[in-house]
């Protein structure tokens, strides 16, 4: 079910600050059947066309607070709840250009009873956040 529901096309948006595009956000639901505290969100990667953005480049926001992935390693109070949208910011100078794009997001959650980390990837083709 996560393939279909974790990332909606409307939830990919350019970020413009003072008239300049600084990147984009993706609003994600967790690809797991329960919410977890942020220390369990081990990794997120975003691939925008051919460009790969890794955890050190991204920030993660939930409940109005923004964290780096380094900070999240010890974050056990804030949770990414089941069905709740977290916002991942991807720095892309200029924002998302006009045209059609491919966006691939991989979320890795550390699941104790599986003994490790489970990656989950969703791909959206022909994304065009500027109205289309």
């Amino acid at each position: 079910m996560y393939e279909k529901h974790m990332l909606a096309r409307d939830d990919i948006q350019s970020v413009v600050e003072n008239g300049v595009g600084t990147g984009f956000i993706v609003k994600l639901k967790i690809p797991y059947y329960r919410g977890v505290c942020l220390s369990l969100v081990e990794d997120i990667q975003v691939r925008f066309n051919d460009r790969l953005f890794t955890r050190d480049q991204l920030t993660f926001s939930v409940s109005g607070e923004t964290f780096t992935f380094k900070e999240m390693e010890t974050q056990t109070t804030f949770r990414w709840e089941f069905g709740e949208k977290a916002t991942v910011f991807v720095p892309l100078p200029g924002g998302i250009p006009l045209g059609m794009h491919r966006i691939e997001v991989t979320v890795s959650i550390r699941i104790s009873y599986m003994g490790g980390t489970r990656p989950f990837t969703v791909v959206l083709e022909n994304v065009s956040p500027m109205g289309g």
């Binding site: 079910m1 529901h5 639901k29 059947y33 329960r34 919410g35 977890v36 505290c37 220390s39 369990l40 081990e42 390693e73 010890t74 056990t76 949770r79 709840e81 089941f82 069905g83 550390r110 699941i111 104790s112 009873y113 003994g115 490790g116």
Partner: protein, 325 residues
């Protein structure tokens, strides 16, 4: 008394995830569409207020719902995140702290039983006994495939329980351990991908015969099957059939059951799991706890088709009532 029926809200995960139904609406559907009395909840999936510390107002609202819809809390499902941090496994004491946290929450929300995840170590359950007694909530280790009733893990856990002589630890039976053949919907999906129905039937017969995965893959190879058939064979790799009769060994320690199911057909039969014999055994040993329906077929719906979780649960209850009589 006899066997009581309820619903694990795990069954409704997609309706909740996509925002179609909130917690109260699901309680409503449980009472008024399914016609069930018992509510089982994963508070980390559908929090009452916030997990793990709802406010008093959240708790009051929860009990108001129970009253309004004439439902009652049965079992609360717990997780122990022993890999909470990247670089280490939590110590025993930290894991017991998590158990105590969940026992406390269960107690606040009126749950009498806590589902302990299968791989949680018996030492953690043992060290949590004082908390379980303090909060008046029983811990039940879930016997869930690929674990069986005969597994060493189960036997050693039960030795610990018996040795302690405590009424606050026991077993929860997940009916997935009585699976006899792949769910119909899994087979239908394979057929749509071009699988040969004869090969699928041969696999299903071998599954019912409790053959190992290598045997199933052998059938696929022999009969010239491809990826679709192999997928069905592999889906069985984590299945280990338990004999329903083995529940008799632990009769007085069974405190709760998960009526696990994947696919209910139009005649309200589960298409892959044996319900008849386990329920006969439970009746025979005088089990008078809950069986909560636990629908896990969401991931069998591919493409545009979406599951109707509430309808699936309703059908499951029709079957359960028929079997319990």
């Amino acid at each position: 008394m006899g066997i009581k029926l309820g619903v694990s809200f795990y069954s409704y995960q997609q309706a909740y995830y996509t925002g179609q139904k909130n917690l109260e609406q699901l309680i409503d559907a449980t009472a008024n569409v399914v016609g069930a009395h018992g509510v089982e909840l994963i508070p980390e999936q559908m929090p009452v207020g916030s997990y793990p510390d709802p406010s008093e107002a959240d708790v009051e609202r929860w009990f108001a719902w129970m009253e309004k819809y004439q439902t009652e809390p049965t079992c609360m499902d717990s997780f122990i995140d022993w890999m909470l941090y990247k670089n280490r496994i939590l110590t025993k004491r930290e894991q017991v702290d998590q158990m105590a946290r969940d026992l406390k929450l269960a107690s606040r929300l009126g749950f009498k039983t806590l589902r302990v995840l299968c791989p949680v170590r018996k030492e953690i359950v043992e060290a949590s006994l004082p908390f379980a007694e303090h909060y008046g909530v029983k811990m039940g280790l879930e016997i869930h495939a690929p674990m069986t009733l005969n597994s060493r893990w189960t036997v050693e856990y039960m030795d610990m329980v018996v040795r302690n002589g405590s009424r606050f630890a026991g077993l929860i039976i997940d009916f997935g351990i009585f699976a006899k053949r792949p769910a119909r919907k899994l087979l239908t999906n394979a057929l749509q991908k071009g699988a040969d129905p004869h090969i699928l039937e041969a696999i299903a017969v071998a599954c019912a015969d409790n053959k190992p995965t290598e045997f199933l893959l052998g059938i696929v190879k022999e009969m010239g099957g491809g990826q679709a058939e192999t997928g069905v064979a592999m889906s069985w790799a984590r299945n280990r059939f338990s004999q329903p009769d083995r529940m008799r060994d632990y009769a007085s320690y069974i405190i709760h059951c998960h009526g696990k199911f994947y696919d209910m057909d139009e005649q309200c039969n589960e298409t892959g799991i044996d319900y008849q014999s386990p329920i006969a055994v439970l009746k025979d040993i005088g089990y008078n706890g809950y069986i909560c329906s636990e629908f896990e077929g969401q991931r069998l719906y591919i493409g545009a088709e979406e599951p109707d979780e509430i309808e699936q649960v309703r059908r499951h209850h029709v079957m359960m009532r028929r079997l319990i009589g």
